[in-house]
């Protein structure tokens, strides 16, 4: 069964989507060499190649970051192209990752993906949602390791069963929304400045701190 992976991150190889899909593929292939094609949808000059790769694959995984509450423009273009070809029964699954901590932000695009699969008569394998991914490379190692392990297991189970494991999907989609405790914890993080620590650090690193509240088009 030929697996094709489409990475829709505009940051291509230097992206959080790449980090997560790498873990998925490590689980899928074990210690063996990858023989899946990984296609970077931000390379829009290769649109025809991407469509062809979709056409000949048996299993397809599309991973992308949530951009303005949906898919990035490059991914939308890919969907427009593959929706035009006949691929009845094609096994297609999706992974949506976002910087927002709650999975809820991605639920709307999940509904879209399910509907797209239905319209195109693909065999919809499900959508994995993971929030809180921005700044993943700065996460404490144990948290990063646990997250990567989930994606590793997701790939492993997918290789063995051809399914995106529902239990892992549920785990990854936590927190779905903030409950009382998390909401108050987050309020405290905002008050102490910790919630925006990453952005503040980056602004300072780039000597842009003084311009952080700039409104150039006002």
């Amino acid at each position: 069964m030929k697996l094709a992976v489409f990475n829709g991150s505009p940051r291509r190889t230097n992206s959080n989507s790449t980090l997560l899909i790498t873990q998925f593929l490590n689980g899928y292939y074990g210690n063996n060499t990858y023989y899946s094609d990984i296609h970077y949808l931000a390379e829009t000059t290769k649109n025809e190649e991407h469509t062809k790769a979709f056409e000949i694959a048996d299993n397809v995984i599309v991973i992308f970051p949530l951009y303005t509450d949906a898919m990035p423009g490059q991914v939308k273009l890919f969907f427009e192209n593959i929706a035009q070809i006949k691929a009845v029964g094609k096994r297609v699954g999706f992974i949506v990752q976002s910087g927002f901590p709650e999975a809820y932000h991605s639920v709307f695009v999940q509904r879209y993906l399910e509907k797209l699969a239905k319209t195109c008569q693909w065999n919809y394998l499900g959508t994995v949602i993971r929030g809180g991914v921005e700044g993943i490379q700065m996460f404490p190692k144990p948290i990063q390791k646990r997250l990567f392990h989930h994606f590793y297991c997701l790939g492993k189970v997918f290789c063995e069963s051809g399914k995106l494991d529902k239990k892992i999907i549920v785990k990854l989609a936590q927190p779905y929304r903030f409950g009382f405790l998390r909401r108050n914890f987050f309020k405290m993080m905002i008050k102490t400045g910790l919630a925006n620590f990453y952005w503040k650090m980056k602004l300072k690193e780039n000597n842009a701190w003084d311009k952080r509240f700039a409104a150039p088009y006002a």
Binding site: A70, G73, H105, F108, R111, T119, R183, K202, A208, Y217
Partner: protein, 180 residues
């Protein structure tokens, strides 16, 4: 009312007169209207570099036609997007414009209705409207598009105030838009 119309048609807009007619009709009603036909503009894809958040706050690093749209957008009372439904959602042309709206908000996070959202960069943001070309009659696609746009508006510190299809006669569309 100051209105910006963003035409997300996937074709060079010599083929499509809807937004031109809408702009004219709204001007006749006394509105100040700016029309941007995205396919006729140079608009690059967002590369996710976050320069607009942490290197040159509020300014995208791309050199293309977006700055004129940013200026019009932020000074408008209402922004109307127009697109056909393609593969179940607005065109990739319009989605690319939406992706490029990131410099208009601030990277800092805040709680809005118990959810995490970005903070405002500007004091005032326009209301948002979406008009869908009526060729696609799939009610599920329309509902999904409306929901996705309502979320987009929320994150852009706005509100999806108007959602219609081109099935509605132009006069009625204009009257409804004027009453917002």
């Amino acid at each position: 009312m100051k209105i910006t119309i963003v035409d997300g048609s996937p074709h060079k807009v010599t083929d499509n007169y809807f937004t031109s007619n809408l702009a004219s009709a709204l001007i006749d009603k006394g509105h100040h209207v700016s029309l941007f036909k995205a396919k006729n503009m140079k608009i690059n894809y967002c590369t996710g570099c976050w320069s607009c958040w942490w290197k040159s706050p509020g300014i995208c690093m791309h050199t293309d036609d977006m700055p004129q749209l940013y200026g019009s957008y932020i000074s408008s009372d209402l922004v109307i997007h127009y697109s056909p439904i393609i593969a179940g959602f607005v065109s990739s042309v319009l989605k690319t414009v939406n992706d490029r709206s990131i410099p208009l908000v601030h990277p800092y996070m805040a709680l809005v209705n118990g959810e995490c959202h970005h903070c405002s960069r500007y004091k005032k943001y326009p209301l948002l409207g979406l008009i869908i070309d009526s060729e696609n009659d799939d009610s599920d696609d329309l509902e999904l598009t409306k929901d996705l746009y309502a979320r987009f508006a929320l994150n852009l510190k706005s509100e999806l105030k108007y959602f219609e299809t081109t099935k509605k006669p132009m006069e009625e569309l204009c009257n409804e838009i004027s009453s917002i």
